[in-house]
Amino acid sequence: MSRVATVRSPSSLYSFASAFFGASSLPGKAALRLIERHARFYRRMWLVVLSGAVEPLFYLFSVGVGVGGLIGTVTGPGGVPVPYKTFVAPGLLAVSALNGALNDSTFNVFGRLKWEKLYDAVLATPVGPGEVALGEIGWAVLRGLLYSVPFLVVMAALGLITSPWALLALPGAALISFAVAAVGVACTTFMRSWQDFEYVVLVSVPLFLFSGTFYPLSVYPHVIAVIVEWSPLYQGVVILRDLVLGYPSLSLLWRAAYLLLLGLAGLAVAGRRIARLLLV
């Protein structure tokens, strides 16, 4: 017992989190160990991690401000015309939450699964496959927040936030990250080689471009609009746009439930797949 105690004492993140969540009663507490491992691993590479946050900012200045100058105003939530940059900013906030979560839950998880053999080592400890999935998704959500928090700060500095409801945009962004990360980890367990990641690009680029990020759904013909409604990013964009611009409604709860369900399904699949791949 004493040996366990000396091993645990330096892990400040873990002790903080376990105190925060009520210690040992937490079901997925082993997942926090994996998150702590990643936090320690990326401590020396924080600049690489953080630099990913600038991409949506470049888009904000280029498409939002530059192209926005050619567009003027568009019809925002509630049928109210808003300047284009105000319209596009919450969409790009959703994109930053998506980017952070997707990069980590696909490329990095595949590397740990097939190349680093990290999970082989992890599963040799009391940590189970479901907790590996939960830990990876949790880490990807943290990384999504690492991208979306600075973006939200820049939005506030540029005066693109018009409502106190915007405070709820942060949990909203975390929800997008959760849904994307869970589906990302689940899909990654089916990947055979790096070549398969062409399919990730094949899905993520249209998701980014066509999910109502840059223009309202009314631009599309009706048939396409119905398809786009199923995009998780579209649902996330609507949630964040309505909150940031101050038009909350009960329908946002349905959209949030859709994302939550998607995330939970991904989590369940990911845990089972990791068990099947590695616990023979």
Binding site: M45, V48, S51, G52, V54, E55, F58, Y59, F61, S62, V63, G66, V67, G69, L70, I71, G72, V74, Y84, Q195, D196, E198, Y199, V201, L202, V205, P206, L209, F210, F214, Y215, V219, Y220
Partner: protein
């Protein structure tokens, strides 16, 4: 044949059997001949992996054309097209998307496979054990990258034509212009990538190089919409020269002087890259 001796002077005179004529060793080919052999090696590899690259290289630009050109364009065109030179937004954006995909194809193919040639699949290390010189390995790889740029650009030019986004016969020059721009990026980027010891700087090039270039070089909105102090910077970028050249070709607003400046800029950039790459490849692969 029995004689396996190599003889300097013509015929084998000792021992039984017919005389064997021994030809002198062929001279080491000069110029780009060895580079073509390195290029053929890449072709053999590509024959086995081309399927996965087709999707992203053809569909990616098409997605951008649809979302930016048609989707965003429907909002832009409501306000008139005077700022765009009197053409619909999609016609304005299409040549820019062509040039951006040429740049992205060039940069991604000149970074990761070059780094991998030394660190991952070590194809450069293998090539070094043959008669290929570092400059041949470099040029052979550049030829293959140029081929990839040409393939992707040709696909996109055909798409542009099919959507009626080409307004002038000058558009026949879109393909060579796009390949020139890609080559102007590929040569210096490969020259730099071969010197790397870790892969992280390549991520920075994408994040702080190709993405800002793609977004601010007169691609999705005219440079005149940028703040005054940023405009000279945008005009100095190679991507802007490529965009301006291809936009002039596809809309039929070619000005001979301006086109000469654009082409000259890109040719000089490619030449400097070629000179630099011969040096960096030599240093990296002969040590």
């Amino acid at each position: 044949m029995t004689s396996t001796h190599s003889l300097a002077n013509g015929t084998a005179s000792d021992g039984p059997g017919p005389a064997v004529t021994v030809r002198p060793l062929p001279a080491v080919p000069g110029g780009w001949e060895l580079a073509v052999r390195a290029f053929r090696c890449w072709l053999v590899m590509y024959r086995r992996t081309w399927r996965s690259s087709v999707w992203s290289s053809v569909l990616g630009p098409l997605f951008y054309l649809g979302a930016m050109g048609y989707g965003l364009g429907s909002l832009v065109d409501r306000n008139g097209t005077a700022a765009l030179g009197g053409v619909p937004y999609v016609v304005f954006v299409a040549p820019a998307v062509l040039v951006v995909q040429a740049m992205n194809t060039a940069i991604s193919n000149a970074m990761f496979p070059v780094f991998g040639g030394i660190h991952w699949n070590k194809i450069y290390v293998a090539a070094r054990a043959t008669m290929l010189r570092p400059a041949d390995i470099y040029r052979g790889h550049l030829l293959f990258i140029a081929l990839r740029i040409a393939m992707n650009s040709a696909c996109f030019v055909v798409i542009m034509a099919a959507f009626g986004l080409i307004k002038s016969v000058w558009a026949v020059a879109l393909l060579p212009a796009s390949v020139l721009l890609g080559f102007a990026f590929a040569a210096p980027v490969a020259a730099w990538a071969v010197t790397l010891r870790t892969q992280t700087p390549m991520n920075y090039v994408v994040r702080f190089g190709s993405i800002p270039l793609m977004l601010f070089s007169g691609t999705f909105f005219p440079v005149s919409s940028l703040p005054g102090w940023l405009r000279p910077l945008a005009y100095a970028t190679p991507l802007w020269h490529g965009v301006a050249l291809c936009r002039a070709l596809s809309t039929g607003t070619v000005d001979a002087g301006a086109a000469a400046i654009h082409v000259g800029y890109l040719v000089v950039m490619a030449a400097i890259g070629l000179w630099w790459g011969s040096r960096t490849y030599y240093r990296r692969l002969y040590v």
